[in-house]
Amino acid sequence: MSTLVSLARAQAVDVGRAQPVATVRHVHLSGRPMMFVPLALAGEACAPLAAMVGDHPRAPQLLVVTQPRNRTQRFGFAAELADIVVPYIEGYLGDVEILPGSGRREPRTRCADAPQILMPNRAGVSFARLLGRSTRFRRAEGDYAVPATVPVLGRWLTFLAERAEYPGSCLMLAATDMLTMHWATGQSPVEDLNLAALLGWIDPPDGRTGPEAALAAEDPVRWPPAGPATDPTFDNEVLARLIAAGNQAAASGDDRAERRARVALEQALASQLAPTWRLLWRAADLLRGLPPGGHVAARWDADKDAVTWHAGQLRDGGPPQPRRDSAVTAARRLARLERVQAACAAQRAFDDPLVMAEHRLTGEAFAGEVVAVEPGRLDTSGRRAKLRPRVTVRTWDPVLVDEGAALISPARPRQDARVVSVANAADGQPAQVVLELAGGMGHGRTAPAGTIPEVGDFDCYATFSDGYQPPPAFPELEQTPWTHGGPPVPYQPVPYQPTDEEAQEEWS
């Protein structure tokens, strides 16, 4: 967080409504996202209880496990879920776009669009990860066979939950994360984890203030928790009785009684899921009201690349994601996460003046009026005269840059701006910074209009950029040093077949 966001929280308290902390949408929203609201049985590692899932607000599909401790029913749930989720994902794999090659790079194809699964909160994403873990090593024949779609679902869920850790990736997102990225509420981040309370602050119903709506949202009877954990009172007073009734009916062999018990359980669980289902769509609608940021499409392209790659892995019979990353894979992944994080933070600031303002407040960027421009200034110190226009910017922002620092303006990311001199703010006068510009101006003797700022422009300069950073060098897998456990044992055989141990792993 930053002081700017914290001030927005204070303002939200004052106004009684959430305050914007972004002026554009920093996430990609699919035209047809799939919403997934899972519920799990309390106390178990990953025992699915029910889910509401689907890609249309008026057509949620309800999945229910009548005996959550029954292994067969768990795989039944996974198979039903796979029948909804896998076709949805595979529906995106057929349509491809061709990317032209450049230089040494061959032309290639990738999915023209990608699936997107939205979940209520991060705990939901963790549940998807665990569900992926417990299903991706299964097999469709032999002992403990499961439907062939189950391990496919497991691998996709694992892939999506892993991508969810990448800053800027939008294949699987938690609604609470999406919303808090764009609005600051007048409550704490802990309370923001409650989707109903969060939306209460952002978009309270008519006649209610944000805090009133948030307080009402904490009543688990009116607003059941957004899962995967259920309301303990619901468990104790409703669910336990219905599950017991179902077991009794099943034992009695009375089909009608069994059906009745099932319907009662389905209704009870639907009542727990439906409010969150509606909240999830409302969250998406609210975000759709914001115009997308400039780099959102580029990040979505990276998501499409990732989906294309993973689909290829599945098609070519590659092994599922390992239980634990090997040392080299883990180090590479961490380095990639760090680079993506830095690039994404810079992109968000470049796309959104309100995010840039956070950096202006800390002195990592400044903005102000251009008061002087020398568009035709030449640097004649070298053998050939070089075009090096200078601009003077007046700013009230705290300026912490030193002479010689290299800056970037979001308006012209290909142009370098070097600090020539800084006159700090004093006696009620703003600071003045003189910058020398290089690049992005063509090859002429004067800079064409539009390639450099003009007097009177409002211009911003940042000490960071989202420019390409070469990945650090890591050894190949086979070269893993003994200090890190030596080379990992490769999966055998190729193409991958689950071992007996994997396929028969308990899920109780």
């Binding site: 966001v5 914290s6 204070a10 202006r360 308990e506």
Partner: protein, 375 residues
Amino acid sequence: MDSTGIRLDRIRGPVTPRNHSARTIAALSGNPGCARRAVLDAAGVDKQGLAAHVGFPAMAGQSQFAITRGNAFEAQVKANGCAELLTLLREHLSLPIREASYDNLDEVGGNTSREVRHAWTRRLLARAAQSGDDAGTLFDHPLLCLRVGGRPAYLEPDLIAFQLSGRFHVTEIKSFSVIDGQADGDKVAAAVIQSAVYVLAMRDLLAEMGIGPESVADQVVLVCPENFSNRPSAALLDVRKQMTVLRRQLSRLRRIDSLVDVLPPGLTFDLELDRAGVPRRLPAAVAGAVRSVDARYAPECLANCEMCFFCRDEAAGTTSALGRATRDDLGGIEHVATVLHLARGAGQPADDQAEVAQLLRTAARLRAECLGEAV
């Protein structure tokens, strides 16, 4: 009983005091600055009942599914004289236990009173510590005692302490899963600090008999289900850091008398229960009494304390209610109104607020500029 004890009794009223548990002691270390919680816990007040009476009932407790699963797992691990546990300790942790006897301290000859059980626990543990032989012994449900705020708190851990090469190891059985070697960080942290409470209590108990702290290992054994199965797995966890935190916290609480001394005389949280257990005292009077003891509300209280909703309501309009990070970002200023006042540039900030006032004014200008609002 000393004067503080008498004061605390009056504060609680004529009802049986609530026991501290390892969980409540662990929670104390989460918000050490809260005098309200310290006093309520020291006096053994029923916080759940108190919160409900003043109109801010705490959230529902645990799901019965979670409780059932926890009990079933514990029973499974301990079945047949802890057969599964012993295998685990031998195989996973390579502990050289040849054979072990098993002592259930749940009751002593049919007597389940705390004092009797505690005395029996003391005797057994002392004998084991002094015998010095290598015979491993598992103690099921020993009853430990730790002085919290000058008052004895009986701890009924579901733990087993076993002796190995002259040392006791505290063992904690939890039913959350360890999946591919990883478990929920919050749950592990909670289990570790609870185990630290037990280690502390055991060391205190043995110290009274002149047995040094080295007789209790500062590594505890955490037993959890492995992956998605019910099979137990074990891990050794170092609790030295948590012990330091707890010890500091308990020594602060030992000075509970200084907290009690500044409270209004005659203060009581007595709900004046009638014979049917229905409170008769006016909620407003009780709430007034609660308010006279300072609280230090933080959003983390929502997960740890029965009084949280009362305190949150009371803390409305403060920056701490928005979380520690927000409060720090806003320069530690206590009230939201002051923050906004300074951000508007209204009035002259106090000397120690000059710097943060400057920051807030800039922040407010930037927000207004970006959102196209007038400052």
